[in-house]
């Protein structure tokens, strides 16, 4: 099956105790399905959630090395806390091109999985050239809408997958924006994506555990 990364953003419903509760739900559901499910909590929660045993990704890493950088975190710090990888260049935390390149190369050295977000087919191709582990294409106009990219703009997913595979078959493609239901998820996989990146559909659901069970087809 596929890859599911749940971005907790700075949602009240996705931080502190709520974050831990969702992470525990992910852990219990992971045992019952073949999908790979991971969570991306905020930096303050990351360490504690990694200890639960669920696969954790940071939401952002600063494009710096150790040094005089107040209020910043490095790839090494994120790794040391037990993260498997990090989102890079999310549409709510866009980075400069040179910094995306810096982080992808640094993640290879440090041993972190890079999940680079992009906004269209063009930027997906540009990022694929930099050889990250994942590109996650998310048309910004659909983020948070509940209108799934896999239904509203299937050609963005298909063309992203094709373009990436042409350039470098090792780069995996996720798609995001508006994914909520099992049908959306399955459709994303049918379009060639290896999985999905989602946020509000699970984190802001009345019952996140149920929403995730529904997503993976357990309900």
């Amino acid at each position: 099956m596929g890859v599911i990364i749940i971005n907790f953003k700075a949602y009240a419903e996705g931080c502190g105790r709520n974050a831990i509760e969702i992470a525990r739900a992910v852990l219990s559901i992971s045992d019952r399905v073949e999908d790979y499910i991971a969570v991306a909590p905020n930096h303050l929660d990351l360490s504690e959630i990694a200890k639960i045993g669920v696969d954790v990704y940071a939401q952002h890493v600063d494009p710096i090395n150790f040094g005089s950088h107040t209020g910043r975190v490095t790839a090494e710090m994120v790794k040391e806390k037990g993260a498997k990888g990090s989102l890079i260049n999310h549409s709510e935390r866009r980075l400069r091109l040179a910094d995306i390149d810096f982080l992808i190369q640094k993640f290879k050295d440090v041993g972190l999985i890079s999940v680079v977000c992009t906004n269209n087919v063009n930027t997906t191709k540009a990022v694929a050239v930099l050889e990250p582990d994942y590109v996650a294409v998310e048309p910004p106009e659909l983020i948070g809408t509940g209108i799934p990219v896999s239904k509203a703009e299937p050609e963005v997913v298909e063309n992203s997958v094709r373009a990436v595979k042409d350039l470098n078959p090792n780069v995996k493609v996720l798609c995001g924006a508006g994914i909520t239901t099992h049908e959306d998820y399955v459709r994303a996989l049918e379009l060639g994506a290896e999985g999905v990146l989602l946020a509000s559909g699970i984190v802001k659901a009345k019952d996140p555990k149920k929403a995730l069970e529904e997503l993976v087809g357990l309900r």
Copy 2:
């Protein structure tokens, strides 16, 4: 005596296990002196260090409320993890004026202590008008040099203290940049500052515990 806040920045010597070791040293030294000593670790370490029992400040808080903000942390999150307050507008993480105002007001609501960094007498006065708990004046050209502001530019400290007290006697003044020795610290207090903000002098010292003992006059 005075207030001492130790900024761990993104120093290798100030994160992970090193951060915990320095935090423990602070805790043990705090028991032996009347100074108020607190630490400002990075976001990933914050939660764990707060549990040790030392007073913890964040290095930065994003000027946002809960919501769709990937890679950001709110004042509420920092509070929930046990932080007493946060640095705001450090010279390595400068903020827009409207955002400094937003954070100071929000910290009052949430119950966090605001420590707003400034670079000269002018900006110190401007920030004092916004009524934070602390203003920490640090001439950027001296940060990390080991040349103490209290010796190199005593008039910056004196004029900052005078200007702040004229505008609002409740706002406390720290000074920073280049503070390393007990003499520098005492000099800062003599100039009217309530304390100091420092970083490399302790965190990058060969033996941070000894350096801190020296700073507070235990050696």
Copy 3:
């Protein structure tokens, strides 16, 4: 009477030939009233519009000195082109506190008039401490709405004026956001403002010249 500064923003209606046409209208109307009317075109149009004879302000100046700064302009350059001053920290071009201070001081050296935009009473006071020539308070939620700040939030204008005059009677106060009609303008002056900063009300009017005549009470 009062001060009127018209911000052309990056409006299609306020650049190139349109900008020149509005500037000419300002010039002809200026002769018929006692109000001081100036325009703030984009950087590309600035030089040509200054030659027309109307008082010109830049919309922004970068907080730098001459040097290796590609894509930036200095205060000296703006002065050399004939500008009288510049907006600083407009809500669409917010600056860091240290940079606002840098620009205000630099404008004094270079001989430019500083018009610093702020978003509320607090930040207005903070800026007044830095002693600019003007503070222009504009609640961002009203910008571009046509709902005049002088009617919707008169206390913001009154409290800004009072606070500024308490701190430094030499600093002049403008108000902005939603100003369109003569009535709004007169009301702003009655509330103690020295004038107004406006944009769409004139620039995007069907007939900018008529709109300006209406504003100053010639119709």
Copy 4:
């Protein structure tokens, strides 16, 4: 022969009257050689220099459409003033990946030549995928040093050229950083670059005209 673009940056020696003088020198030298020589002045000088008849590029264009953007300029404005194109993403004005893509596509619509700066072979490839007119690779550590990239890191130039041509033979490659002499320039062309992007070597030369004559081999 090759392409030479001279970036005036925010140099005192490259603005106002100095800018016009260098532009005139470029014009007179252009008549005597087969090289294509263009200048990139700051926004305030752009309009006047375009009227001289020399080919002009902006140093930067904001990634926006017409609208409420104080202190910004659009591609349409730059085109209307007579510019042939613009630098994009100079190392002193780095942009987010999505914004680089936005500008390249917009320049095609508006009819401007895109010259996208990059910092290494990786980012050069990533940009080539977006199909700009030019990629200008400049290792940031060499900018302003006088150590020519064509001598110090010839493999960066060669590998950039090869990688770009593999991806898209229509994209032209410039190289920059440290280029001063005719020998550096010729070497850049020999390495496969279509030309060079330079700044201080000409603009800050004692006699810019002589420096340019030397560069193109007239002395």
